[in-house]
């Protein structure tokens, strides 16, 4: 059924009718085709209180519809189940002991040894880990069988086996390969969406990434309180989006922000977070996220059900840069795709950044020359901290020029932050510099980003490759830019002054000019040379010369000193690069790009002379999940996303009553459009 078909009819569908319709669908023995799954999803979406309506049997049926597809091979129980009992570990025994009371009559007649063997088989042969984090969700599944009709106990065990295996394969996080990076990234994501909450937790030395990861890994189930978990799991499975799991954790934490921010000590906060229950109850006093009415177009809604949690999670996903989404998914499920950085390098990368790093690929979509691509992507307001002449030469649409002269002057920095706050609060802002590998500039950009975050501006990111990294995309007309002389960026019209030569000029300037006098001398040389090469080249040289000139002028003494100490040697990161790179004579070390081919293509062979530092982390397109949409369906849904994007909503608002809130309805409608 299409969304336009019969809205009035749908509105008239009562809760009871919707419930009956869903249960009828669940009772049907139809093959799990994608169309069938869609029918189930739509039926579920009509029931906001679905979780409270489902019996154990119906929930099992629902999960089976959502977790299995046409190609799922249903596993049989081994005949020699009791024999596995002899191999059972203490953990298996402990789990088996709790299994019988949880499953109740549904496993009547199954011996203790068989139950022990079942758990052992699931653990040893099917890779289900019964550790602290994942045993809760297993118990939550098992508990659903308590009220299934009595019958074949072995058949019930078989159903539990298959559900557990499918859940493990598709949703459970078991890899710890990128754990350190994940912890940092989750913290950065919280900071991106809720800087005030993130700051409060940081001030209390709470490693928030650990909580978010633990909640995600356990699928919100606790060993001793697994009942609430299914209320979240229902909606995670209905959405068929495992990558929503960490965002659900973020959304849940943010829904508790007022309580968390009210604590004064680390001990209080830790106790609260450790004992936090995932039960949802609508409370007026916790509904108003006043702190999140901060300029963002749509603030998260109060959470009163698994569905509203996932709505908020969806809102967070839509407002997260795609590169960060992909990296997080790869970190949690490393089989999804390959990252171009090792776990250690990735962790180091995140440990150095004061805010979420924005990748070039994010700009490739947000500033795409193709309207359709651009409208589906996040709108970035670029905080351009290059020199004015560079900015005037070329800049990105909608950017805010702040220049490169703020330096370490508190007053100027405060003015800068106020300007950004006034013009762009609530928008996705991205701090951008020249992209040169100069520590002073990098530190200045970090400082600017930190100041914005400290002002609690949401959605603050930093593009480390800087404008330099965007030039190839501008040249190839992949992204839009305001150009003073558009012909400058035409690839074929620069026979005298190539980009490589421009880069060489920049290298010479940046590494050879420790004093302002030197800067001026070298600039004069640049100018003279440019005159020889023609007026076009001259303009470019002028622009090139100015890149970061303010930084040089202000920090001349520092640079000279750093140079005198020989500190322009490659950083640890760089030193790990190829020997060819490490022997490069430049004083300013270049970040060595891993040799793995990046999926994000600049559309041609990168010119090594351009120093084309590509920090993009994703090197391959994530593999679809087993139960994910077929390609054509994905394309169809992707095409629907722009209409549902939160950016389209007109004004910020948070209301106490989710049912009366027009924005809530809007979000609700947008959310549901995804499935219509």
């Amino acid at each position: 059924m299409s969304t336009a078909e019969s809205p009035k009819t749908e509105a008239k569908v009562t809760l009871e009718e919707a419930k009956t319709a869903l249960f009828e669908i669940l009772d049907k023995k139809t093959p799990n085709t994608w169309e069938q799954v869609e029918v189930v999803q739509k039926a579920c979406m009509r029931l906001p209180t679905l979780s409270t309506l489902l019996t154990g049997e119906k929930r099992c049926q629902l999960y089976e519809k959502l977790l299995y597809d046409e190609h799922t091979k249903i596993l049989d129980l081994p005949d020699n189940l009791a024999e596995y009992a002899t191999k059972a570990s203490e953990t298996h025994e402990s789990v088996a002991k709790q299994l019988s009371p949880l499953m109740g009559p549904s496993v009547e007649g199954v011996s203790e040894a068989e139950l022990k063997g079942f758990v052992c088989y699931l653990g040893t042969e099917k890779g289900f880990r019964f550790g602290e984090k994942q045993v809760g969700i297993f118990f939550a599944l098992a508990a659903q069988f308590h009220d299934v009709p009595k019958g074949d106990a072995k058949a019930n065990l078989k159903r539990l086996l298959n559900l557990s295996v499918a859940l493990r394969e598709e949703y459970l996080i078991s890899s710890t390969l990128y754990e350190k990076a994940t912890l940092s990234l989750l913290r950065l994501l919280l900071q991106y969406h809720d800087p005030a909450l993130s700051e409060a937790l940081d001030h209390q030395k709470i490693e928030v990434g650990r909580y978010l990861l633990d909640w995600s890994s356990s699928l919100f189930a606790k060993k001793d309180d697994h009942e609430a978990a299914v209320h979240v799991l229902d909606w995670i499975l209905i959405l068929l989006e495992r990558n929503m799991v960490p965002y659900a954790a973020l959304a849940f934490l943010m829904s508790n922000r007022q309580a968390v921010m009210g604590f004064r000590t680390e001990e209080e906060t830790t106790e609260y977070l450790q004992t936090l229950s995932f039960k949802f109850s609508y409370r007026k006093e916790s509904a108003l996220n006043a702190g999140l009415v901060d300029g963002r177009r749509i603030a998260p809604l109060p959470i009163w059900s698994g569905k509203s949690l996932m709505q908020n999670a969806d809102l967070l996903v839509r407002n997260t840069p795609l590169s960060a989404q992909n990296v997080l998914e790869c970190c949690l499920w490393p089989d999804t795709a390959q990252l171009s950085k090792s776990p250690e390098a990735l962790a180091h990368h995140y440990s150095l950044t004061p805010c979420l790093p924005i990748e070039r690929s994010d700009f490739a979509t947000s500033f795409s020359t193709k309207d359709a691509t651009r409208s589906a992507a996040l709108d970035y307001v670029v905080i351009d901290s290059r020199a004015r002449v560079s900015y005037e030469h070329a800049n990105l649409p909608g950017s805010i020029f702040v220049g490169d002269v703020a330096g370490y002057d508190q007053e100027r920095l405060e003015q800068l932050v106020s300007r950004v706050e006034e013009k762009a609060k609530g928008s996705h802002v991205c701090v951008l510099g020249t992209g040169r590998a100069i520590d002073e500039e990098k530190n200045l950009l970090k400082l600017i980003a930190m100041q914005l975050v400290r002002k609690h501006l949401p959605y603050v990111g930093l593009l480390y490759v800087g404008f330099k990294g965007l030039i190839p995309m501008i040249k190839q007309k992949m992204i839009v830019a305001n150009l003073q002389h558009p012909e400058d960026m035409a690839e074929e019209t620069a026979p005298l002054f190539t980009n490589a030569a421009l880069d060489a000029a920049l290298d010479t300037i940046s590494s050879n000019l420790p004093t302002s006098e030197e800067v001026r001398q070298r600039a004069e040389e640049v100018r003279q040379k440019a005159e020889e090469l023609g007026s076009l080249a001259k303009e470019r040289a002028e622009a090139a010369r100015s890149w970061g000139l303010g930084v040089f002028s202000q920090l001349q003494e520092k640079i000279s000193e750093v140079r005198s100490q020989g500190l322009f040697t490659p950083s640890t990161e760089e030193a790990k690069g190829t020997s060819a790179a490490s022997t490069e004579p430049s004083l300013i070390g270049r970040i060595v790009r891993p040799s793995i081919a990046a999926a994000f293509s600049m559309g041609g062979e990168a010119d090594p002379a351009e120093g084309d530092d590509d920090f993009d982390l994703i090197t391959s397109v994530p593999k679809p999940m087993k139960s994910a949409l077929p390609a054509e369906e994905t394309a169809k849904k992707e095409a629907q996303k722009p209409q549902a994007a939160p950016a389209a909503a007109p004004k910020p608002a948070v209301h106490a009553d989710p049912t009366a809130d027009p924005n809530a309805k809007k979000v609700d409608e947008e959310f549901e459009k995804l499935f219509m």
Binding site: K442, A505, T508, S511, K529, A530, L533, E561
Partner: protein, 221 residues
């Protein structure tokens, strides 16, 4: 090179405060700069700085004081700001032996990033005398040892101070001492020698082998 200071010019000195989490680095900075003390503990994220102008001898100095995070997870972010520092202030808590034990590694990390610099060691929280774990003599001996072991050609000095940020005792003296040391060092250093104008960083690159920056390689600027 002349070591005579130029009197009129205001000197900018970058000072880094280092030490374990919770030893009172932020409190010391705020007490020195703003004469304020907040007993509520808030861990520093990354790094932050405050500026204070003061006069050392007849020299006006703008002291840029960088407060860095003591938490391990923010150390990488904070240490990026060590570069270009003129001196450092190492802080430990006199009531926490472990924080004193870590002072050496903080100094080492600082030296890696910023080079050897004059520094002061501060034993903070002397208002909690009844809970003291690190005797004054122990800390003083550690400083003496550092001073004795220093590079003879590049002598740096470490002075020891005990402070209470809460009661504002010893704070001014410690910061004035580090400012004076940094200033003296800066004045005694030769002016930076500009690199020869003929340096050609692209000499290994094909098409620019001439060594000068006016070859016909398209643009050598």
């Amino acid at each position: 090179m002349s070591s005579n200071p130029t009197p009129a010019k205001k000197q900018l000195l970058k000072i880094i405060i280092l030490g374990d989490s919770g030893v009172g680095k932020t409190s010391l900075m705020h007490q020195f700069v703003s004469k304020k003390f907040d007993s509520r503990y808030k861990a520093t994220i990354g790094a932050d700085f405050l500026t204070k102008e003061l006069t050392v001898g007849d020299q006006v100095v703008s002291l840029q004081i960088w407060d860095t995070a003591g938490q391990e997870r923010f150390q990488s972010l904070g240490s990026a700001f060590y570069r270009g520092a003129d001196a450092c202030v190492l802080v430990y808590d006199v009531t926490v032996q472990e924080s004193f034990a870590h002072v050496g590694s903080w100094m080492e990390e600082f030296s890696i990033q910023a080079g050897r610099r004059d520094s002061v060691l501060i034993g903070n929280k002397t208002d909690l005398e009844d809970r003291r774990q690190v005797p004054t003599r122990t800390a003083q001996m550690w400083c003496d040892k550092q001073n004795a072991e220093g590079d003879k050609n590049d002598k740096t000095e470490m002075k020891y101070f005990e402070t209470s940020a809460r009661e504002n005792t010893g704070v001014e003296e410690a910061f004035m001492a580090v400012a004076a040391a940094a200033l003296a060092r800066k004045a005694s250093q030769p002016a930076p020698v500009p690199p020869p104008s003929t340096v050609n960083l692209n000499q290994n690159q094909p098409g620019n082998a001439g060594g000068s920056n006016n070859t016909n390689s398209g643009c050598s600027c």
